[in-house]
């Protein structure tokens, strides 16, 4: 079996992270922005796992557990907040939600 160079995984992770950043900055829907943030988190997970293989220790894989759990907690809190707003108004557009100056 041919060995896939870790460089490709790093490249993929970098690509995913950058797509996430651009998505957060470009999109205006709160849920979609949040999905891009999740994409960034998972890109970091890929970094961790790839570095773990390059470094030859397990620490990076363990860290992924923590990131997963924190991401889940973030989902719960975030969706609860977004839901609260969605029930009060029809729009989730972060630009239309502007009682406060953005």
């Amino acid at each position: 079996m041919t060995e896939v160079s870790p460089g490709y995984f790093l490249a993929l992770a970098g690509l995913l992270f950058t797509i996430g950043v651009v998505g957060v900055l470009v999109r205006r829907n709160a849920i979609v922005i949040f999905m891009f943030i999740e994409l960034m988190l998972n890109a970091v997970n890929l970094f961790f796992v790839t570095f773990a293989r390059m470094q030859g220790n397990l620490q990076g894989q363990v860290l992924v557990f923590f990131v997963l759990v924190v991401a889940a907690a973030e989902v719960v809190v975030g969706l609860a907040l977004i839901l609260l707003i969605a029930r009060r108004r029809a729009s989730l557009d972060v630009d239309k939600v502007r009682l406060l100056k953005w």
Binding site: A30, F48, Q55, Q59, F66, V70, E74, V77, L81, W102
Partner: protein, 500 residues
């Protein structure tokens, strides 16, 4: 294969454990007792938990070691920050009791989340592993997202909670990417590097010694990302966009707590990282941090001038103050570190007092928070006006208040380190800042009260008055007799770059 089970010593994280147990106890007891009644037990239980926490934090004073498998640093620096955080939280709890009771939204969740947040911030202060920094940061951030939106019926409250959440989650991914890069560079996320877990275990500090000079590039990139991630939390420009919105929409006691405690926790991690661990790389991170510091001081001060809402104004002022703290970090000498600690502790007390006055005067549902609403305040309630005057003067850095001493210390440290031009920028920014504090004072003293305006104070408890009184007392007393606290801060840095 033998596994190393870490030795479990609880002294290092005892203050945090006390808070978490207290928070769970409050939540469960209240859930079982159920609805109804005057919920006076909530603030008393919170006070007890915080009191125990302070007691335990004091016990750890003087020890200097890494615990829990090198995850936790127990040193003077951590002890100082923990005690200060608990004091901030105590003031917040007492103020919140009056505030929540008046607005009829007193619930156990508020106190529980507040205690969880403090526990997370304390962990941040003694984190000796980057993943610990991340977990601590998320612990207090998640609690704060909910606290910011605690006024569930308020549209501004919901909106600011959502914005704070989205930008906060966005920023913590950068911190996490920085951690991943550190791991990629040195194969571990430990800060100090250990003696315990075998020969292979190295940390940032040991790697900086052992690696050849050319191998630091990835570590430098990682440092930048860490500064970005933590910079969001301490509201440094250009990562400050969430600050005015979150500060305006949050309940005033929470705003005060965020300005005081979140800043302290974020800077605690930054100081430990930059001034202790990454000190050998200072040639690389200094330009970045200097840029951030200058932008933060200037943008914060200038944008505050045009604000109409007092909470927004203080939000921009808190941004400017973050810049002043950065000058102490850039100096990265002993005086810089102790000066930053002193500055953060005293700024926290002052800003808590200022937001306490706003919480009391804002009235039910915080309808009156614009600068115009405070017109002629002096003629209506001279004592509150006097207290607010004192806090604003201290924030402006007028002599005989503690704000002046704080600025003197951090600027002195920067001059000592050869950054006089940075101090010039800081002093100019303070001069601009003095203008908008004066603007508020002029409105309070010189102008007539609006016709038909609501009475300023309506139904606030004695606890809130006590908080304002204590904060005012501390502002004056420390402004005239500052040596004990500075002494304390200086001894806190002596144990600093501890580590095995």
């Amino acid at each position: 294969m033998g596994l190393n089970t870490p030795e479990i010593e609880l002294l290092g994280i005892a203050p945090e454990i006390a808070l978490v147990v207290g928070a769970l106890f409050i939540l469960i007891v209240d859930a079982i007792i159920g609805e109804g009644g005057n919920k006076w037990h909530l603030w008393i239980l919170s006070t007890i938990a915080l009191g125990v926490s302070i007691f335990l934090a004091v016990q750890a004073w003087g020890s200097n070691e890494l615990q829990m498998g090198d995850m936790i640093a127990v040193d003077g620096f951590a002890a100082f920050v923990k005690i200060t955080l608990a004091v901030f939280a105590l003031l917040t709890v007492w103020l919140s009791r009056s505030y929540l009771h008046r607005d009829g939204i007193e619930e156990s969740e508020f106190y529980g989340l507040l205690l969880f947040a403090v526990a997370g911030m304390m962990l941040m202060a003694s984190a000796a592993d980057l993943i610990m920094v991340f977990l601590a940061l998320e612990t207090f951030s998640l609690a704060l997202y909910v606290l910011v939106g605690f006024r569930r019926t308020s549209l501004t409250g919901q909106e600011s909670a959502m914005k704070y959440f989205l930008l906060g989650a966005f920023s913590s991914t950068f911190l996490l990417l920085g951690i991943a890069f550190v791991y990629g560079a040195i194969g571990s996320t430990q800060m100090y590097g250990s003696s315990a877990a075998g020969a292979g275990a190295q940390g940032i500090a040991t790697a900086l010694v052992s690696l050849p000079a050319g191998e630091f590039t990835l570590l430098v990139i990682a440092t930048g990302l860490l500064v970005v991630g933590l910079g969001f939390k301490v509201a440094a420009v250009p990562f400050h966009m969430w600050t005015p919105d979150a500060y305006q929409g949050a309940p005033s006691p929470v705003t005060g707590f965020m300005a005081a405690a979140t800043k302290l926790a974020g800077f605690a991690a930054l100081i430990r990282l930059l001034d202790a661990i990454l000190f050998p790389l200072r040639g690389d991170w200094r330009p970045l941090v200097i840029g951030i510091a200058v932008l933060t001081m200037v943008v914060g001060s200038v944008l505050a001038v045009v604000q109409e809402d007092l909470k927004r104004l203080l939000a921009y002022s808190s941004i400017a103050h973050a810049g002043f703290v950065f000058t102490g970090i850039i100096a990265s000498n002993d005086r810089g570190v102790s000066g930053s600690l002193f500055y953060l502790a005293t700024y926290g007390i002052t800003v808590l007092g200022a937001f306490a006055v706003i919480a009391v005067l804002g009235g039910r549902d915080e309808r009156r928070t614009t600068v115009d609403d405070f017109r002629g305040l002096f003629y209506e309630s001279p004592l509150l006006a006097g207290a607010l005057t004192l806090f604003l003067l201290s924030l402006a850095g007028v002599p005989a208040t503690v704000g002046f001493v704080g600025k003197l210390v951090v600027f002195g440290a920067a001059v000592e380190a050869g950054y006089s031009w940075l101090v010039v920028v800081g002093v100019l920014a303070s001069a601009v800042a003095a203008f908008f504090y004066l603007k508020v004072l002029v409105v309070m003293y010189m102008q007539e009260r609006q016709e038909g305006a609501e009475p300023a104070t309506s139904g606030y408890g004695g606890l809130a008055t006590g908080v304002i009184g204590l904060a005012a007392l501390a502002t004056v007393a420390l402004g005239l007799y500052w040596s004990p606290l500075i002494d304390f801060a200086e001894r806190a840095t002596f144990f600093f770059s501890a580590g095995g």
